[in-house]
């Protein structure tokens, strides 16, 4: 068995793991990253498929210049000399008409469009303003429940539900009210940016920092055991192309989700409360459809939000932002199908509903040579997110020097890959405070 020694071993090269590894190796910690797949990045990268450059999961930097992955790259003097293009704000289709909203106050504008009268408009806006600027609602109820208390206008509910699906990937009736508002507040008014090679650019730039600082990035190496002695993490056992590998480390960071962290360490090392918290984590699931056509189905690069569709609410043509991501003359659009309920849905039925939404929204789909390039089902070990947004997020585990990073432990108010990056930054900072090199 080959043996290695380091300060920090990171299991998984998703954006959380790589942000932590980049910060730590830059600060002088000997860092080893283990990735089971042949490529880095997990659900935070782009790949080439049939002439298209497509996202594997996250499509963009959702917090613009203040996105935690970009801030990490700047912290560690990584290469940020690449072109980025903005996804402009979307248009909303309401009652068959497409509305371009002002850059600021777009939500208030939408509500004024669909309110039955001035009194209703003022009441709803006042209630929303209060939770945004004064105090967020309780996490004991869902955002949907809070919304029903604020308005009985179904169109307003549908608009805010679409907004929920876009920001958090979940319906309003699935997410805690307080955390939803914190996520909205953090998300509103941010630029959404796509680098020139998609998010692969970010991953490659972080990887370069790690290897230039004597860190190691080992692909095709799968961790199968986290070593724990006397309540402390001691390293990892893994299997790679050259056989068994034992890595002793002062700190272990898991980027493969808290469930796997517990499984690889052995449940006996965790108190029952923690084990139950981890068991209760429910992945966010859904279908993602990629369709191609001859020329765009919709001409606005910011995409279209719909509220009268059954499932799909956000439609974006990536070719309009980066023509280089598609073969000449072809356009690639994708849309997310969020089932009404998280479990027990029939994916075939969801697909059929989604295709009906597609044809209803873009009647010229077939005429323009429209085809489905891919229909993905995000679930289980490849979820849309490893957990729903919630107020309880711990990066530290009960085992000393064993941390989780990634989208199951996003800090409060942060969503998706950007939240995962932020969790990696926070863990790196905690390690630097507790363990001096």
């Amino acid at each position: 068995m080959e043996k290695k020694n380091c300060d920090v071993v990171v299991i998984g090269s998703g954006i959380g793991g790589l942000c932590a590894a980049a910060k730590l190796s830059y600060a002088g910690y000997k860092t080893i990253v283990l990735e089971r797949m042949p490529i880095l990045g997990g659900r935070y990268t782009y790949v080439d498929y049939k002439g298209y450059h497509v996202k594997r999961g996250v499509p963009a930097l959702y917090y613009g210049q203040r996105d935690p992955s970009l801030i990490t790259l700047k912290d560690v003097h990584g290469d940020v000399d690449f072109e980025m293009r903005q996804i402009p704000s979307p248009k909303w289709r309401i009652g068959g008409k497409d509305y371009q909203l002002p850059e600021k106050g777009g939500l208030w504008h939408l509500i004024s469009l669909v309110s039955r009268d001035k009194q209703e408009e003022e009441k709803v806006i006042a209630e929303l303003r209060r939770v945004f600027t004064w105090r967020e609602p309780s996490d004991q109820i869902t955002f949907g429940e809070w919304l029903l208390g604020a308005t009985d206008n179904r169109t307003i509910y549908a608009i805010l539900n679409s907004w929920c699906v876009q920001v958090m990937g979940a319906n309003a009736n699935e997410v805690a009210a307080g955390e939803s508002v914190r996520c909205f507040r953090n998300f509103t008014g941010t630029q959404h940016l796509i680098p020139q090679n998609g998010l692969k650019t970010i991953i490659e730039s972080l990887a370069k920092v790690i290897t230039s600082r004597k860190g190691e990035l080992l692909t095709r190496v799968k961790a199968h055991k986290i070593l724990v002695r006397a309540g402390m993490a001691k390293g990892v056992e893994a299997r790679g192309p050259d056989g068994e590998l034992q890595i002793e480390a002062k700190v272990v960071i898991s980027n493969i989700g808290p469930k796997k962290t517990v499984e690889l360490s052995g449940e006996q090392h965790f108190d029952r409360g923690y084990a139950e918290e981890v068991k209760a984590l429910q992945p966010l699931t859904g279908l993602h459809l990629f369709v191609t056509s001859n020329g765009p189905l919709y001409d606005w690069p910011g995409g279209l939000y719909t509220i009268e569709t059954q499932r799909a609410v956000v439609w974006i043509d990536w070719t309009l932002i980066w023509p280089e991501f598609s073969p000449k003359g072809k356009n690639l659009m994708s849309f997310y199908l969020k089932p009404e309920h998280r479990f027990g849905y029939n994916p075939q039925k969801e697909y059929e509903i989604g295709m009906a939404d597609l044809v209803a929204t873009f009647p010229r789909f077939k005429e323009q040579g429209g085809e489905v390039l891919q229909a993905r089902h995000y679930q289980g070990e490849w979820p849309f997110a490893r957990a729903l947004p919630s107020s309880e997020r711990h990066q530290k585990t009960p085992v000393e020097n064993l941390y989780n990073v990634g989208d199951a432990v996003n800090p409060q108010g942060w969503i998706g890959g950007s939240g995962a990056a932020q969790s990696g930054r926070m863990v790196a900072e905690d390690i630097m405070k507790r363990n001096k090199v």
């Binding site: 089971r36 797949m37 042949p38 790949v47 498929y49 049939k50 497509v54 594997r56 095709r220 994916p347 075939q348 697909y351 489905v372 891919q374 229909a375 993905r376 089902h377 995000y378 679930q379 289980g380 070990e381 490849w382």
Partner: protein
């Protein structure tokens, strides 16, 4: 040498589909489970390392 897909483990994520250099893998919406076109498969076995659920094995 060839691959075998354990349908009870496949979740329909399409990660292997994106990794296949000969486009031999496909996830039809009727099942959301991966199938392999043996005429296109060049037996590079890359997909085994990509599958997030260990559903693909060397057969």
């Amino acid at each position: 040498m060839s691959i075998k897909i354990d349908q009870s483990k496949c979740i329909g994520c399409c990660v292997c589909v994106l990794s296949c250099p000969t486009y031999a893998l496909f996830v039809p919406w009727e099942t959301f489970q991966c199938i392999v076109d043996r005429d296109l498969c060049n037996q590079c076995l890359e997909c085994i390392d990509y599958c997030p659920t260990d559903a693909i094995e060397e057969a």
